[in-house]
Amino acid sequence: MSFQDPLRRRRPPRYPALAQYEDGYPSYQDTSADQSGGSGYQGFAGLAGAPRQRPPWDDPRQRSLWDTGAQQAVEDTGAGPTLWDSGAQQAVPGSGASRSSRNTDGQRSLRSTGAHRSSRNTGAQRSLLADSGQETTWDTPGQTERGLPRRTSGPFFAAPDDGNDDRRPSRGLLAGALTGFLSAAVALGVANLVAAFVRPQASPIIAVGEAFIDRTPPALKNFAVQKFGENDKNMLLLGMYVTIALLAISIGMLAWRRVAVGVAGIGLFGLFGAFVAITRPESHTTDVIPSIVGGIAGIAALLWLVRAGTPRTLAARARRRR
C-alpha cells in the first residue's frame, strides 16, 4: 500500500535560490532576475518588482541580534537535530540548529544566518534529507543551489503543525482526511452503541435526522417524496452520512495542522447532537448521553490517530515539553 500526497510532488520549490552574499553569508536571490550581480537581496522569487525590506535575518546590521536569538533558541530547546528524521540527523551531525530551529514553536530565529553558520562551521556539506534523495549542499561559497532542504519523514506524513510556519505545504492531507473520517465514524458508532442503552431516538444521527425532517421546507420534502418515494428516509440518511463525512474530513485536515481545531470540531459535533437530541419533542434528559459519549470517543480517536501519525521524534519533543 502506498500513500502519496499528490500535492507534494507537483509543488515547485518555495524558496529562491541561495546565492552567496557579499559578506560571505548566503542570501536569497530571485533566480528569475538577472544574476550577473549575484549579490544582494533582490526579493523573493516571483515577487520581484515591489521594493522589499531585507529580512532581518539577512541583514548584516541586524545579524548579531538574530545570531544571539538563534543560538539562544538552540540552547533553549536542547532539541538539537533529532526533531525530524534521524537519517538527516546522522547526515549532518552538527547542523541540527538549522533544521530544529525551523521546526520549533516560537523560535523566530528560523532563517537566522547564525543557524546557517552553525552548520557551515561544522564543515558539513552533505544531504540534509537522506530520504528525499535531494542533495542540498547549500552552504558552499560561490555555489548556487535551489531550495532549502525539505523536512519530512516521508511523503505521507507531516507533523501536526506548529502553526507559525507559513511555508508548510499541504502535506499530510490524506492522513488528516482519514483521521477526521475515522474519528467521526468512531463518534457515531459509539453513540449508536450507547443509544442502545438509552433509546434509539437518542442516537445523534436519528435525532438530527428527525429534526431535519421537521425543518425540511415543504418544497424539498415534496421533491424527496416524489423523487425517492418510500426511500426518502434512506436518502436522507445517506445525505447526512455524506455531509458528516465531508465535514469530518475537513476537520481532520485542519486537525493535522492544529490538533485543537480537530478537538473543537468533533466536540462541537457531539454538543450539537446532544442539543438536538434534548430539544426533540418528548425527549428525555438522558438523550444527551449518546452524543456526549460519542463525541468524547471521537476526540479520543482523533488524538490517538494524530499521535500515531506524528513522527516519533516530535512526540518525544512533546513529552519533553511537558
Partner: protein
C-alpha cells in the same frame, strides 16, 4: 515507523467504529423491538359483512389486489426509526376540552367492542397515478364512542393526536364524530398492526387524508380548536380540512401492449362517498368501465374495460364519478395543499 503506527491506529479506529455502530444497531433491535405477535387481536365483536361476490377482481394481471398486503402497504411518516411501543406500557390520554379527561390502557381498550371495517387509506402526497394508497381490513374500537365518554365540550373543533415521539396531527372533530367508522385500530388484515403501521394502536378515519387522521403509535388526544393549535402539517402549509378527493388510476396496461384484446384496469376511490362510475378515455373518447362490486363506501373499487387495441400509439385516461354525483376534475393540481387532481393519463404503444 510512523506510517505503520498510523495504519494500525486507523484500522483499529475503523474496527471500533464498525463494531460499535453495528453492535449498537443489533442491541437496539434486540432491546427495543416489540414483539407484535404477542398481541392476540381476537375476534371482532361486530364482524364486517362477508364480501359480496365480485368485490374482489383477481384475474386481471397487473391490477392492484382489493386488499393491500400489510408488507406492501405504503408507509409515509416522519419517524427515522420505527417507534417501538409495548402494549404493556401503552396508554391513551384524552384531555383538553373534555368534561372527563381519561386515560385508557391497552387491556381496557381490548375489552371494548371491536369492529371490523374495510377502509382505503390515502396519503395527501399521492400524485395522480401514484402509489400512496392502500386498502385493508382494520379491527379496532370505535373512536367516537370513546370520545363521547370523555364528554367533548362545545367548541372543540380540533383533535390533536400525538404519537409516542410527540409528533402531532390535527383532525377536525366533526368528521370523526359524524357517524363514520373512525377506529382506534389494533388489527390490520387479521394481524396485529405491524410496527411501521402504528403498533400497538393507530387511528383510522375513513375519508380523510392520512396527514390529518392516520395517527400511528397514538398515545395522546387533545381536544382543542384550530385557533388554539396549529398542527404539524398545517404549520407547513397543508389544509386543515382534508377530505379525500375523488380520483382514479390505471394499473394496466403499462407502456406496450399487443394488438387485440387488451384489458384496461385500475382502481378508483372516493372514500366515504363511494365510487359510482368510472370512464375510460381512449384517444379522447370516453367509455363506461365495468366496476367491481362495492364493499363499503370507504374503500376503493376496482374497474376494468376490455379494449380492442389497434396498432399504433394511444392515449388512455380515466375519470371517476362519486355517489354524490361529482366527477373528478381534469384540472391538474399538485398535492399541496390538499391533494392532487387531474386525470391519470398514460401512453401506450400497441404493436
Amino acid at each position: 515507523m510512523d506510517r505503520r503506527k498510523f495504519l494500525i491506529a486507523g484500522g483499529s479506529a475503523a474496527g471500533v467504529a464498525a463494531g460499535a455502530g453495528f453492535g449498537g444497531q443489533y442491541l437496539q433491535n434486540k432491546r427495543f423491538t416489540v414483539n407484535t405477535a404477542a398481541v392476540k387481536i381476537g375476534k371482532p365483536t361486530v364482524k364486517a359483512p362477508k364480501l359480496a361476490k365480485g368485490t374482489e377482481v383477481t384475474d386481471i394481471p397487473g391490477l392492484s389486489s382489493f386488499y393491500t398486503p400489510n408488507s406492501a402497504f405504503y408507509r409515509v411518516d416522519t419517524s427515522l426509526v420505527v417507534p417501538q411501543v409495548s402494549p404493556q406500557s401503552w396508554q391513551l390520554k384524552i384531555h383538553g376540552m373534555v368534561d372527563k379527561p381519561m386515560t385508557i390502557t391497552f387491556d381496557e381498550l381490548m375489552k371494548r367492542p371491536m369492529v371490523d371495517h374495510d377502509v382505503t387509506l390515502t396519503c395527501v402526497s399521492e400524485q395522480v397515478g401514484g402509489a400512496y394508497i392502500g386498502n385493508a381490513r382494520w379491527q379496532g374500537a370505535l373512536l367516537a364512542d370513546l370520545l363521547k365518554e370523555a364528554g367533548i365540550q362545545k367548541g372543540a373543533t380540533q383533535i390533536v393526536m400525538r404519537d409516542v415521539n410527540g409528533m402531532n396531527l390535527g383532525v377536525a372533530t366533526d368528521p370523526v364524530l359524524d357517524g363514520r367508522t373512525s377506529l382506534l385500530a389494533i388489527g390490520m388484515n387479521g394481524q396485529p398492526l405491524p410496527q411501521e403501521h402504528g403498533f400497538p394502536v393507530r387511528v383510522v378515519v375513513p375519508g380523510l387524508y392520512g396527514y390529518v387522521s392516520a395517527r400511528k403509535w397514538v398515545v395522546d388526544m387533545e381536544l382543542t380548536t384550530f385557533g388554539a393549535f396549529n398542527a404539524y402539517w398545517t404549520q407547513r402549509g397543508w389544509s386543515q380540512q382534508a377530505p379525500i378527493k375523488t380520483e382514479s388510476r390505471i394499473d394496466t396496461p403499462k407502456g406496450n401492449a399487443a394488438a387485440g384484446k387488451v384489458m384496461i384496469a385500475g382502481v378508483a376511490w372516493a372514500q366515504h362517498r363511494g365510487v359510482e362510475a368510472v370512464e375510460v378515455g381512449i384517444d379522447g373518447t370516453w367509455h363506461q368501465a365495468k366496476l367491481a362490486a362495492q364493499d363499503t363506501i370507504d374503500t376503493w373499487r376496482q374497474w376494468y374495460y376490455p379494449w380492442e387495441a389497434t396498432a399504433g400509439a394511444h392515449t388512455l385516461q380515466v375519470r371517476a364519478t362519486d355517489k354524490s354525483g361529482h366527477t373528478q376534475t381534469a384540472t391538474k393540481q399538485r398535492p399541496e395543499p390538499n391533494g392532487a387532481t387531474g386525470y391519470h393519463t398514460i401512453h401506450v404503444t400497441v404493436a
